[in-house]
C-alpha cells in the first residue's frame, strides 16, 4: 500500500467514526480527534518535505485538477473557441473567452484527459500544430479587443508523432512564441501541472509566470534525461533533482515570478482552496499589469527575455 493509500484509508476510517458518532449517539469525539491528529502528523511527514521526484509524481497525479477544472472554478461564462482555420481542432489545447470577476479575458491551456476515452480525444494534453495555431487565434482576438491573456500550462510536451512533424510542430511552437513576444495585451502564464519542454513554453512566454506549488517546469522529462544523460533509465530521481524543475527551485533561480500554494498532499486534496488561491493571484497580477501602458509592457517583456540566461565573462581583462 502506498503512503497516499494509507492516508486515504485513515481518512475513510475517520469518516466512518464520524458517521457512527452522529447516527448512533455514541460519543467517539475523543477517538476521532486522536485519529485526526495522527492523520495530520502523517500527512505532514509525507508531504511537508517532498523530494523533487515526489513533486513530479504529484504534478502528474491522476486526480490532479486540469485546465478545464480551473476554468470552471475560477472563471465564469467560458466561451470555448474551436479550430485553427487550417486543418482541424486540437482538443489537447483549449482556448476561449471567459470572465474573471466580470473582467473579460482570453484563456489558452493544455487539457489532459481523465479517462482512456478522454485521453484518446485529448492526446494526454500533448498539442499538435493545430492546437498552437488555435491558441494564437485566441491571443490575437484578445489583442484586438484589449483582453488580457491567461495561459494554463499542463502538458508532458508537444505531441511527438508523425502527423505532428508533418505539419511542422517546431515551426508552430516558434510562431506561437513570436506571437506572444509582440502581443500588446498582458499575458499571465500559470504552470498548473506539468510544464514539459517546448510544448509548454509555447504558451508560456508571458509578463508574469507563476507555478502551482507542486507543478514542474522542465526542459526535458526526468525519464528522458535519465536515458540521454545518465544512460540508465532508473536514474530519473537523480535527473529530477539535477534539473531543478520544481516551483521553489525555479523561484529561487529567478525564472518564475510566484508560487501559488497548494493544500498539503496536492491541489486535488482541496480543489476549492487551490482554485481560490489561483483566482486571487490571477486577479492581483492582472490588476498590476492593467496599469501598464502597452508600449511599456512590451518593453519590459522584451527585457525580461532578452536578459534570461547565465554565463560567465571570459574576456582576458577579467581573468
Amino acid at each position: 500500500m502506498s503512503d497516499e493509500q494509507t492516508l486515504d484509508l485513515l481518512e475513510a476510517k475517520i469518516e466512518e467514526l464520524r458517521h457512527l458518532d452522529a447516527t448512533d449517539g455514541i460519543d467517539l469525539s475523543k477517538e476521532i480527534e486522536k485519529l485526526e491528529t495522527k492523520l495530520e502528523e502523517l500527512r505532514h511527514e509525507l508531504y511537508a518535505n517532498l523530494g523533487d521526484w515526489e513533486r513530479v509524481r504529484l504534478a502528474r497525479h491522476p486526480k490532479r485538477p486540469y485546465a478545464l477544472d480551473y476554468i470552471d472554478a475560477v472563471f465564469t461564462d467560458f466561451y470555448e473557441l474551436h479550430g485553427d482555420r487550417i486543418g482541424g481542432d486540437d482538443r489537447a489545447l483549449v482556448a476561449g473567452l471567459a470572465r474573471l470577476d466580470g473582467r473579460p479575458v482570453a484563456i489558452v491551456g493544455q487539457q489532459k484527459g481523465r479517462s482512456t476515452a478522454e485521453n484518446k480525444e485529448r492526446f494526454f494534453g500533448m498539442p499538435r500544430p493545430q492546437g498552437y495555431r488555435k491558441g494564437q487565434r485566441a491571443m490575437r482576438l484578445a489583442e484586438r479587443f484589449g483582453f488580457p491573456v491567461i495561459t494554463l500550462i499542463d502538458t508532458p510536451g508537444a505531441y511527438p508523432g508523425l502527423e505532428s512533424e508533418e505539419s511542422n510542430i517546431g515551426g508552430a511552437i516558434a510562431e506561437s512564441l513570436a506571437t506572444m513576444v509582440g502581443l500588446r495585451v498582458p499575458i499571465v502564464a500559470v504552470v498548473i501541472g506539468e510544464g514539459g519542454s517546448g510544448g509548454a513554453l509555447a504558451i508560456g512566454l508571458a509578463d508574469r509566470v507563476l507555478m502551482l506549488e507542486n507543478a514542474i517546469y522542465t526542459v526535458i522529462s526526468p525519464e528522458s534525461a535519465a536515458v540521454i544523460l545518465w544512460k540508465e533509465k532508473e536514474r530519473m530521481k537523480d535527473a529530477a533533482e539535477a534539473l531543478n524543475l520544481t516551483a521553489d527551485h525555479l523561484l529561487e533561480l529567478g525564472l518564475i515570478d510566484g508560487v501559488i500554494p497548494e493544500p498539503l498532499g496536492g491541489a486535488h486534496k482541496d480543489f476549492d482552496r487551490t482554485a481560490a488561491a489561483l483566482k486571487e493571484e490571477l486577479a492581483a497580477r492582472l490588476d498590476e499589469l492593467a496599469a501598464i501602458e502597452p508600449d511599456t509592457l512590451l518593453d519590459v517583456r522584451y527585457r525580461r527575455y532578452r536578459e534570461v540566461g547565465r554565463y560567465r565573462d571570459a574576456s582576458p581583462e577579467s581573468e
Partner: protein, 280 residues
C-alpha cells in the same frame, strides 16, 4: 578582427591545417577515402557524395568571402547555474568540448561578406555538446542579430543542433523565448533573416529561432524536426517513413523553402541576399 588575440584557442583560424592522419572510412558507403581529399571536397565523400559534418570554422570558410570574416563572438563562456552533474560534471563537459573544438561554445558569430554583400553570420558547431543551445548560444545568437541591426545588414544563421542544452535546465528552454524576442527586433528593423538548416536542426533550436527565417534553406542531407525519431517511436509506437525528418520530408510538407547542396550554398545565399540589398 579577433577581440581576444591573446587566447589562441578562442580564435577563429580559418587557415588552420586539418588533421591529415591519412584515411577515413565513409559511414555511408564504407569506402576508405583520403581525408585530405574529403576536406578539399567540403567534407563530402568523394566516393558516394555523403555529407560529413563541417566544423563551424570550416563552414565559415565555405560560405563567406575569403578574408572577410571578422569574429564578433562575445567573450562569454558557460556558467553552471544548476550545479549540474550527470555522468560527468557540466563544467568538465564544457571544458572538454572547448579543448576538442577550440571554441568557447557551440557557435561562432561574425561580420562577413558573401559575394561582397555584408552580413552578420552565426554558425553552430555540432561537435560542441551536440550544438546544443544553452545560455551562451542563446546570447550569441541575440548578439549576432543585434550586430546585424547595428550594421543594417542581413542576419544568417547556420544551425547544427540537437536542441536545448539539457545541463542548464529551464535556462536553456528559455533561450527559445530569448532568441525569438530578439528576432522580432530584426523584423521591426526590416532586415532579412536567412535560416540555413543543416544536419541536424532539431528540438529547441528548430522550434524557435531556426524556424523563423524569412527564408529557410536546408542543406542537402539535413535532418529537420522537433522530436527525435527514437522518442517518437518509443512514445507512440508509430511506424515512421524512411525519409522521416529528412530534407525532402521537410520540403514536401512545406516547412522549408529550398534544399541546396553544400557546394551551391554560397551562391544561393548571394542570390537571395542580393534582393534585399536592392530593396534598400
Amino acid at each position: 578582427m579577433p577581440i581576444f588575440r591573446e587566447r589562441d584557442y578562442l580564435r577563429v583560424d580559418l587557415e588552420r591545417e586539418p588533421d591529415e592522419s591519412l584515411w577515413m572510412k565513409c559511414k555511408a558507403c564504407g569506402e576508405l577515402v583520403f581525408k585530405r581529399r574529403v576536406r578539399e571536397n567540403n567534407n563530402v565523400c568523394p566516393s558516394c557524395g555523403e555529407y560529413f559534418f563541417l566544423t563551424a570554422v570550416e563552414r565559415v570558410g565555405l560560405l563567406v568571402d575569403a578574408g572577410s570574416f571578422q569574429d564578433v563572438t562575445r567573450a562569454i563562456v558557460a556558467d553552471d547555474p544548476l550545479g549540474f552533474s550527470d555522468r560527468k560534471a557540466y563544467p568538465e563537459r564544457v571544458a572538454d568540448a572547448q579543448a576538442n573544438t577550440g571554441l568557447r561554445d557551440a557557435i561562432l558569430v561574425g561580420r562577413a561578406a558573401i559575394s561582397g554583400l555584408p552580413v552578420v553570420i552565426g554558425v553552430m558547431d555540432f561537435r560542441f555538446i551536440g550544438g546544443s543551445m544553452g545560455s551562451v548560444v542563446g546570447e550569441q545568437i541575440c548578439h549576432g542579430i543585434e550586430t546585424a541591426i547595428e550594421d543594417r545588414c542581413p542576419f544568417v544563421l547556420v544551425s547544427s543542433s540537437g536542441g536545448a542544452r539539457l545541463q542548464e535546465g529551464l535556462f536553456s528552454l528559455l533561450q527559445m523565448a530569448k532568441t525569438v524576442s530578439v528576432r522580432a527586433r530584426l523584423a521591426e528593423a526590416a532586415l532579412p533573416f536567412v535560416s540555413v538548416m543543416t544536419y541536424p536542426t532539431s528540438g529547441g533550436v528548430q522550434a524557435s529561432i531556426a524556424s523563423l527565417g524569412d527564408v529557410i534553406i536546408a542543406e542537402r542531407g539535413a535532418l529537420i524536426g522537433f522530436a527525435g525519431r527514437r522518442v517518437i517511436q518509443s512514445a507512440m509506437a508509430q511506424e515512421l517513413p524512411d525519409d522521416f525528418q529528412s530534407d525532402a520530408f521537410a520540403f514536401e510538407h512545406g516547412a522549408i523553402d529550398r534544399v541546396v547542396g553544400r557546394d551551391g550554398m554560397r551562391d544561393e545565399l548571394a542570390s537571395l541576399l542580393s534582393f534585399f540589398v536592392e530593396a534598400r
